[in-house]
Symmetry: C2
Subunit: 307 residues, 2 copies
């Protein structure tokens, strides 16, 4: 989707290590935005992106590793990707789509009902155009990785999925193209999601296996931060809402009551950073003056263990 | 879908002329049958089919043409075709599907809402498994050909679609695996659909271009036959219902009011042969004793003309 950051570059670096030729696709896919979502305001920075890719390509060449540099960047028009009917983001939607249910309706899909239909559809097209031996997706969008794996299996697509670890800022915030909307105040509070998930992970690592024991710790962190912000003045606080904190099966993404150690689980969450109630002089603001609500997601894989 | 007849063999013969290797798939795909449709009773004759294919393979080898014989028959299990979730024929349906709208909801799709979702889904899987340079479909299922062409274009599948003319019985009835359900009496009346479409085609060939002028002739034929049958005794008549007679755009399948000569049109129809009201001694019956309602479809392409 462009608006490249270190997370995207990490995908390319991983691909370059394992393949002779790397293809990069940049396409802000309209069908994965709901009709009331932020397609129009989504950052589109193709020129800057191309600069970053050229620089990375140079680095990869200089490194002289066995892996290939960037063979091509595919940045198609919408008429190429949707050649017959204009892209439709409505439900039920006219056009040619891939639907993956019930996976696409869970977690992120609850608040974004057309999102994964758009993702699966555009990925099917891209896979057919490029015919890659391996495709690289970031761990940050864990539901996307599960859905793409399911699509590849169900449709017998001849490609391997590689999941690349989430790139993070120094304080642990997952990198995202939408982070540019966060000014310093919302940026500082936005780390709460990571902190909540880490608290739950710690419980798992200490041997807890029941949903309640594990998620209680995450909710403690989130609720405490939420109360702190609510108690602050409009000029000091940054309010947010928790959309979900989930403990789910890694293949079906269905919520689990008790983690099967041999199977592991996916701990994930989404919060919405609300627009600031009031701004202060001298404060560093995000794109849009911190008036844009920003959804942040993150996750931790609770690996299977032999205990 | 198996239950092979001359129509299927014609597809293979055409494929053998144009390709070194021919792959045949036989799979009665559950997701294209509605929950109340005839999946259980649909003829499944794999052993007989394999015999016919072996015979044809021998003929192709003997002919010694440049084209290849049958390389392989792919007759997968449902667990292979639907590896994660069991096939679901309900609406909205759980699973991984390809949907092609609005095409899939027109004509046949009106009475069979999940049909083309199932067809597109299974074809996407088969195309990915076999990765054919060319795929062969029969003209008889004209809506299927339009939908497959749309799917290939929209998803950038790397395969060419070849449409093979409909194979017909001597009197013109389109061959279909479901024809075995027609005993002599329903068989004789079933030809009405072909006759109706031919009457309309004649009008087009004589220069008529308006929908009303063209379709009136088809409805005349159908209505006359329908009245004749209704007036006969239960032991003599074979009643039927017209589902639709359509004059549609070749690419969108939307109904047209006036045919654009440079674009042509698709004339198509569907009738339902009702179970016989009463049977006579000595009469030859179809499979199921002529108690199974049988849907018949047929079509004629009104080619573009330079007039």
């Amino acid at each position: 989707m462009g608006a490249l950051h270190e997370g995207h570059l990490s995908l390319i670096r991983h691909a370059a290590k394992e393949n002779d030729k790397v293809f990069v696709t940049i396409y802000v896919n309209p069908t994965q935005f709901g009709v009331h979502e932020d397609l129009d305001s989504y950052p589109k920075t193709l020129e800057k992106d191309m600069g970053m890719l050229q620089k990375l390509d140079g680095e990869l060449k200089d490194a002289g590793t066995s892996g290939g540099p960037i063979e091509a960047v595919f940045a198609p028009t919408t008429k190429t990707m949707y050649p017959t009917l204009p892209p439709d983001s409505s439900l039920p939607g006219t056009g040619s789509f891939v639907t993956i249910t019930p996976l696409a309706g869970l977690l992120e899909g609850k608040s974004r009902p057309v999102f994964f239909r758009g993702v699966a559809t555009v990925c099917m097209k891209l896979f057919n155009i490029v015919q890659p031996e391996r495709v690289y997706f970031g761990q940050k969008d864990v539901q996307q990785t599960v859905i793409i794996k399911r699509m590849i299996r169900d449709f017998h697509l001849n490609t391997d999925v590689r999941i690349v670890p989430t790139e993070r800022e120094k304080d642990g915030l997952a990198m995202s193209s939408r982070n540019v909307y966060l000014g310093e105040r919302r940026r500082r509070v936005g780390i709460v999601l990571r902190q909540a998930l880490r608290a739950a992970e710690a419980a798992y690592k200490m041997g807890k296996r029941s949903r309640d024991d594990i998620l209680a710790l995450a909710w403690d962190v989130a609720n405490r931060m939420s109360m702190e912000q609510d108690e602050m003045s409009a000029e000091a606080g940054a309010r947010f809402e928790v959309d979900y904190i989930s403990l789910a099966d890694p293949d079906t993404l269905e919520e689990v009551a008790v983690i099967d150690s041999e199977h592991g689980a996916v701990l994930s969450g989404a919060i919405k950073m609300l627009p600031l109630d009031a701004v202060r002089d001298g404060e560093v603001h995000g794109v849009g003056g911190d008036k844009v609500p920003v959804r942040l997601i993150d996750n931790i894989i609770l690996e299977r263990s032999d205990d």
